[in-house]
């Protein structure tokens, strides 16, 4: 006999799909929380083709002047020159010679003004599309994409963060969407923690214990079916699937020649991993590149860091394009803010959010374009000013999600993106 959910709501009948816990210690054991939500319109917005999003997070604050919006020859320009790109009329920093050859795929958004110079607050705004307030928390772009773009009941998580350092595990970044959409962190690009069967456990005995668990679960569910129990059982099955597909997270399976092209440094390896994950239909991958918080010797550090980025990123964009994935993949390069036009006494640049750049590519984003304009020495936006909320809407719209829609969370409508803002139609095709 099936026992109805306590409230008997339709929402709860769907709740088992809204749950995924953390892959915990042991043989893929999963512990998670409950996320209750209605059959939202989001799933209906799934495009016929699987969409994907990859975000390159230039941690610390990439200098727009040493990357996408150079101002050579001005008092703020620094020592680097601007170089032409594959798109006539668009110039970027000489630190990006390889990326310049991929400009036909890219869209530079040069008029970003987020008016927030604090690392934590700026990062929150750029990844959540809204300011954090004491009374509310919002899901990250990765969680929203995983929720709105990932097919129902995926065998793999839809929200992956690849970052230097860190031990791996589950993030806490999905807010009211629940842990199913929280990120799984691949620290140093390593596969998720605890996804290998312990050596002491034979495949046969492992299978037997899972069979036993399923039987017990089934017996329990037949008598006392609840959302929590359903979700608990589901999360075990996804963890098992993740263990079986562990190789997807193993970048060493990629050809050595590709790693050479991407660069043998950590960022090259992690960017190649991002390609591998996207090719295996992970909906959202975020790769961090650290560190750009260059209050001291900005130019030396950008020489070092941007050269790494240029090699890996250009190879990635070229591969996504040549493999026919660009129409279905949104690529974003962002930071928490840019860096001051003023060069300080240490040859450094400080935090600057009033006139900086974000780059997008793929999916519905205009290609070979530069939108927005800063003034001659880069201190202010002159044309096409946008902020974090505009960008967040645009990211979603680029992957065919109606950003004006809302999640239905326990009967509360919670907008995908800041309802007081809108996307940037000029850069969407």
């Amino acid at each position: 006999m099936k026992v109805p959910y306590a409230c008997g709501s339709q929402e709860h009948l769907l709740a088992r799909r809204g749950f995924l816990g953390t892959v915990a210690a042991g043989a893929g054991a999963v512990v998670g929380g409950l996320n209750v939500f209605s059959e939202s319109q989001a799933m209906a917005e799934l495009a016929s083709e699987q969409k994907r999003v990859v975000v390159f997070n230039m941690h610390g604050g990439l200098s727009q002047l040493e990357s996408w919006d150079p101002k050579p020859g001005t008092d703020t320009g620094g020592p680097f020159r601007a170089i032409p790109t594959s798109v006539p009329g668009i110039h970027i920093s000489e630190l990006l010679p390889l990326t310049a050859q991929q400009m036909q795929h890219l869209c530079l958004v040069r008029g970003v003004n987020t008016s927030e110079d604090d690392h934590g607050k700026g990062a929150y705004m750029m990844l959540h599309g809204r300011r954090q307030t004491p009374a509310s928390d919002y899901p990250t772009l990765g969680a929203v994409v995983a929720r709105t773009v990932t097919p129902a009941d995926p065998s793999l998580p839809g929200h992956i963060v690849v970052t230097p350092g860190g031990s791996g595990g589950r993030g806490n970044d999905a807010a009211y969407l629940g842990p199913r959409y929280s990120s799984i962190t691949l620290g140093n690009g390593q596969p998720p923690q605890n996804t290998e069967r312990p050596g002491a456990l034979t495949p046969e005995s492992d299978a037997a214990r899972h069979d036993f668990r399923r039987k017990i679960n089934e017996r329990f569910l037949n008598r006392r079916r609840t959302a929590v129990a359903d979700a608990y059982a589901y999360s075990y099955e996804q963890a098992l699937s993740l263990m079986q597909k562990r190789e997807i997270f193993d970048v060493s399976k990629e050809p050595a020649a590709d790693l050479e092209r991407y660069g043998t440094h950590d960022f090259g390896r992690m960017t190649l991993l991002a390609r591998r994950l996207l090719e295996n239909d992970i909906s959202f991958v975020q790769v961090s590149h650290s560190n750009y918080d260059t209050h001291n010797e900005n130019f030396n550090f950008h020489l070092e860091q941007v050269a790494e980025f240029d090699r890996s990123f250009s190879a990635f964009v070229a591969d996504i394009a040549t493999r026919g994935m660009l129409d279905s993949t949104l690529i974003v390069v962002l930071s928490e803010f840019g860096r001051t036009p003023n060069i300080n006494q240490y040859y450094g640049r400080d935090h600057w959010s009033r006139a900086w750049s974000v780059v997008m590519a793929g999916s519905r984003v205009a290609r070979g374009a530069a939108y927005g304009k800063t003034n001659a020495n880069g201190t202010a936006v002159e044309d096409g000013q946008v902020d974090h909320a505009n960008l967040f809407h645009t990211y979603l719209q680029a992957v065919a999600v109606d950003s004006s829609n809302s999640f239905d969370i326990n009967g509360r409508e919670l907008p995908f993106a800041d309802p007081s803002s809108h996307g940037i139609p000029e850069i969407l095709t």
């Binding site: 680097f80 560190n291 006494q345």
Partner: protein
């Protein structure tokens, strides 16, 4: 005037309109030339401070300067990889460089003039050391010296060797005649890697040989607890010439935010370093006996480069506050 560092005093102070990056006297001691955060070469006449800005040599910042031995020409190395020759005594700002060559891929970070006057050494981000004919700009010799950016290049006073030091604290001695590597000095204390910030930092920023030939000094920074935030301290690694062993690590107590941008020896064997950082600008002096400085002279502003005059009694310093200053190393 006798040399007396304890009576050092700023005697001239001339302003440009952009922060300065480097400075050198001409060897006839008529002018001091400066690079700045612009593409010009700026000449200040020592007698009255009259400034002339020359253009046409570089597309972007000048990072390195050296005078020819006869003092008739000044060479500038730019972040554009170009090496330019200029007539020191050109009449006015309309003068263009004598020649400009594409010398390096990426920044030229350092130049030096051979004691025989015939060669100029250049080095930069491409890891190459190149030796040029000072008279006609012909490439005489080149060799791949380092895998990472070369921060400093300097000839041995004998003219037999040239040194190169890089970001990673590698300090190498080469034969000028052949480009053959002679030996390496272990200056890795001048390099740091910050795992949290994921950056290589530091490097060999100054190289000098003592007048008696007994020591090779390499300068830069250490204790880089926050490279991106300019928290690091000045450091000299003093090597015995014969053995290439580290003789002393020389420090400057209480300067918690600084880096040595250049080292030079005074005629009496005192080592002088120019320091710039969060604690301001200093000329710091060491003898070969101790680890701590024997004297320091605080400059009015953070310094980025220095040059000892041909008579050994004056120091020019290039500053962030757009000024070039002349400090006298002795009584008035």
């Amino acid at each position: 005037m006798p040399l007396d560092i304890k009576q050092a005093a700023v005697v001239n102070d001339w302003a440009h309109d952009r922060p300065l990056t480097c400075c050198r006297f001409d060897r006839q001691h008529r002018y001091v030339f400066c690079g700045a955060q612009d593409a010009g070469l700026h000449r200040f006449q020592l007698s009255d401070g009259a400034k002339v800005t020359f253009s046409g040599g570089h597309e972007t910042w000048i990072r390195a300067l050296t005078s020819t031995l006869d003092g008739n020409q000044m060479l500038s190395g730019g972040a554009d990889g170009k090496l330019a020759w200029w007539d020191v005594a050109a009449a006015d700002a309309t003068a263009k460089p004598v020649r400009v060559i594409e010398a390096h891929k990426g920044w030229i970070r350092c130049l030096d003039t051979h004691s025989g006057g015939t060669l100029i050494a250049s080095a930069g981000n491409d890891g190459m050391v190149r030796l040029w004919n000072a008279a006609d700009g012909a490439l005489v010799r080149e060799f791949k010296a380092h895998d990472r950016d070369i921060y400093c290049v300097a000839f041995h006073p004998s003219g037999e060797f040239v040194f190169s030091g890089d970001l990673m604290g590698q300090l190498k001695q080469w034969k000028v005649e052949t480009g053959e590597l002679v030996r390496e000095f272990d200056a890795k204390e001048l390099h740091s890697y910050n795992g949290g910030q994921q950056v290589d930092f530091g490097g060999v920023r100054g190289i000098a040989v003592s007048p008696d030939g007994k020591f090779l000094a390499a300068g830069g920074l250490y204790k880089a607890t926050n490279p991106l935030g300019a928290v690091h301290e000045p450091l000299v690694q003093l090597f015995e010439w014969e053995s290439a062993k580290l003789a002393k690590s020389q420090v400057a107590d209480d300067i918690k935010q600084g880096v040595l941008w250049r080292l030079q020896y005074l005629a009496d064997g005192t080592l002088m370093g120019v320091d710039g950082g969060g604690n301001g600008g200093y000329l710091i002096f060491w003898n070969s006996e101790g680890e701590k400085d024997i004297h320091r002279f605080q400059l009015p502003n953070l310094a980025r480069d220095m040059d000892l005059s041909p008579n050994g009694l004056h120091v020019a310093t290039a500053h962030y506050d757009k000024h070039v200053r002349i400090t006298r190393l002795g009584p008035a």
